[in-house]
């Protein structure tokens, strides 16, 4: 489980969304040289599909690659979601992505990347 911000209520939905999209971008950047450019996109879609029951706002990510997400559109769609729930859902999404990475490659590339993403997320939030 990736650590969420200590005081998530003090940050806006937009900040949360952008921070997690950056985190996914970082995973993509690191994974692409090893497993190809399409892998992270597929992992994010697969992860969103798994947890959309709990976090319906992630439905948006099931049928399109995260790279196609338009920030202004997703901000509008997430307007009714409290920032805490949003952070929780996106955090779960990242966890699922790492679980997927582990399912694919064991511990070959996942653990060091997890540390880097955790570190970066703290800074972005």
């Amino acid at each position: 489980m990736l650590p969420t911000h200590d005081d998530s209520s003090s940050i806006s939905r937009e900040q949360v969304t952008e921070a997690y999209l950056k985190a996914i971008g970082l995973i993509d950047e690191r994974v692409a040289p090893y497993l190809g450019k399409a892998t992270t996109r597929a992992l994010v879609q697969g992860a969103a599909r798994r947890i959309r029951g709990t976090y319906p706002f992630l439905e948006y990510l099931v049928n399109r690659p995260y790279t196609d997400v338009v920030l202004s559109v997703i901000h509008e769609q997430l307007s009714g979601t409290p920032p805490e729930e949003l952070a929780e859902g996106l955090n779960m999404l990242l966890d699922e992505c790492f679980a997927g990475l582990r399912e694919l490659t064991g511990d070959l590339i996942g653990p060091p990347l997890h540390d880097e993403v955790t570190h970066q997320l703290r800074q972005w939030q």
Binding site: A32, G36, L43
Partner: protein, 584 residues
């Protein structure tokens, strides 16, 4: 050997071969790596089927790792799973493999597939030449020690997944991951090529089967099928077509257009065939054109009905046709039946005419005798009985009915005799010089006498109406058209006749205010025995020969007859008549 994911992610780490950082050694390592990639690349490029791709993949991977099994899962409906074990595997090991593949595929957002579904559809491919030998005494493990799943991507599209399994732990490492992905990429492209190749082959097979099926259908057709190119050269003629055109087969030189062959051939009907094909090449669809393709001296020669249509490129329908497709039907048997029918009609008509003449003559004789007797009685001063109540008066009325019906029967027989003459080509014309305006006036007066509800008018826009034609026959044409005009406007109304002159012709138009004719009947109205098929027509007498005979008469005079009609306003028949017959 350890490599940090964060550091230099885009550089191929070749430390598995040379850990030294020395420049020259590094260059040698890169060269070795390129040679290696070149070698495996060639293997994949040379692979033309899945089995060869599997062998190339296994050979390349075995140079990197020692592992137990390699699996290829390809997306699709249905999905395909190929399992390539390097040696016989334990059943529970295999079961774990399917579970792993199912989980990993789900993570990559593949459509859900259970381990059982995977096991049922798995295709096992075990190339003996690449099989690894186990150390004696080794027992197959039931647990998976290490695994690696790599998406198979083509142009950033995931088409499947490569999975590697081993009984031992730590078989796979991060340093070789990029190289393994490169091999997977090669395999993905090779598999995609194979898929496309298979698809292409399947389409070719399908097209070939379709072509053979079409050939069989065309070959089995009872109708002849003739296809030409854009110049009118026959490119295809089925068996029935060959039989129907057998007389000309020797003349049909390959590569020469039909109209060229017709110019030099002695076959009398080839020009007609060339003409029909030419019409279709000009973009017209030709329907049911009759052509005698047998010897004229035969009583009923081989007769074909030909329909031809231009062939257009599906994408450019307005351009010049690519060729012509023509269907040839043998209608000789129909012609034989028609001939028999014509013979019968001709014989019966002649046989009927003789007694009719006698009936007509004797009836006339009886009428005159009774009329004479009645005149005597009327003139007799001693006669006290009313003439109308005398039995002779009743007889006279009965004889008038007999006379009227005999005349009707005579007209029918005359129509049938005319039909026979037209059919046999013996419609003889007796040319005479007369004024067409006079003939039209007489005809109008004659029809008007028995058409009290109608008003027949004549409008003449010609200075000189002198014409050289068969007066009786032209009178018959005008009479037939006027009779129809009166008959098919049962509520009465205006019947207008117009006469105009053109350069060498007169145009006669006869209009009525009747029920009119629908456009689809225009083509048939001049056919023999054709009657306008609407319910109302059932109340009208006639056998459908008047217009057929009229057309034959006008045609023989070198004129033209046609119809324009609007079902709201009535019909107008027009015909042209040359001032004098064309020189023979």
């Amino acid at each position: 050997m350890e490599s940090s994911v964060q550091s230099q992610p885009n550089v191929v780490d070749s430390s598995f071969r040379t850990p030294s950082g020395h420049h020259a050694e590094r260059l040698i390592a890169i060269r070795q790596e390129m040679e290696y990639l070149n070698t495996i690349g060639k293997r994949f490029v040379a692979a033309i089927d899945r089995i060869q791709v599997h062998r190339a993949l296994l050979a390349a991977l075995q140079e990197l790792y020692s592992f137990s099994a390699c699996c290829i899962l390809l997306k699709g409906d249905p999905f395909e799973l190929f399992v390539i074990p390097c040696y016989p595997l334990d059943a529970s090991f295999l079961g774990s493999m399917f579970q792993h593949i199912s989980n990993a595929a789900s993570r990559l957002n593949f459509p859900y597939m259970t381990p059982v579904q995977l096991a049922r559809s798995a295709y096992f491919d075990a190339p003996d030449e690449l099989a690894q030998t186990r150390t004696e005494g080794d027992i197959a493990e039931s647990e998976i020690g290490s695994y690696l799943h790599i998406p198979l991507t083509v142009e950033n599209r995931i088409i499947g997944m490569l999975s590697l399994f081993d009984e031992k732990t730590d078989t796979f490492n991060a340093n070789l991951l990029q190289l393994t992905t490169m091999i997977a990429d090669y395999a993905a492209v090779a598999l995609e090529n194979v898929r496309l190749h298979e698809r292409e082959n399947a389409l070719w097979r399908e097209a070939e089967l379709e072509r053979m099926r079409l050939e069989l259908i065309i070959g089995s057709m009872a109708e002849g099928l003739l296809i030409t190119d854009e110049k009118g050269t026959i490119t295809s003629l089925n068996k029935s077509g060959e039989q129907l055109l057998s007389e000309a087969l020797d003349d049909l030189t390959p590569g020469v257009p039909l109209h060229k062959i017709a110019e030099t051939s002695s076959i009398s009907w080839l020009p007609r065939l060339g003409e029909i094909i030419g019409q279709a090449l000009a973009g017209n669809t030709v329907k049911s054109q009759e052509m005698v393709a047998g010897k004229e001296e035969e009583r009923v020669p081989l007769t074909l009905s030909i329909s031809a249509a231009p062939l257009h490129d599906a994408s450019e329908s307005s351009s010049r046709p690519l060729g012509v497709v023509a269907v040839l039907n043998d209608i000789t048997s129909n012609k034989q039946v028609e001939r028999l029918k014509d013979d019968f009609v001709s014989v019966v008509s002649h046989e009927l005419r003789t007694p009719l003449t006698a009936i007509k003559g004797y009836t006339q004789h009886l009428v005159r005798r009774i009329e004479r007797r009645l005149r005597k009685l009327r003139d007799d001063p001693n006669n006290t009985v009313s003439i109308a109540e005398l039995p002779e008066s009743y007889d006279l009325r009965s004889l008038s009915i007999v006379q009227s019906q005999t005349e009707h029967l005579e007209r029918l027989v005359n129509d049938l005799l005319d039909l026979s003459e037209v059919q046999w080509g013996h419609l003889n014309l007796h040319y005479d010089t007369f004024y067409l305006a006079d003939l039209l006036t007489e005809s109008a007066r004659s029809v008007q006498a028995s058409a009290e509800q109608h008003h027949i008018s004549l409008d003449i826009k010609a200075h000189d109406t002198k014409v050289q034609a068969d007066r009786v026959r032209i009178g018959q044409v005008v009479g037939n058209i006027l009779d129809n005009a009166v008959k098919y406007s049962p509520n009465g109304g205006q019947v207008s006749m117009h006469l105009e002159e053109q350069e060498d012709n007169y145009i006669v138009s006869i209009s009525d205010q009747g029920m009119g004719v629908s456009p689809e009947q225009f083509d048939h109205i001049f056919e023999r025995f054709y009657r306008v098929h609407n319910t109302a027509s059932q109340h009208f007498s006639g056998i459908g020969l008047g217009l057929y005979v009229a057309k034959a008469i006008i045609d023989q005079h070198g004129g033209r007859i046609w119809l324009s009609s609007d079902q709201r306003t009535g019909s107008t028949f027009h015909f042209t008549l040359p001032r004098e017959p064309a020189p023979q």
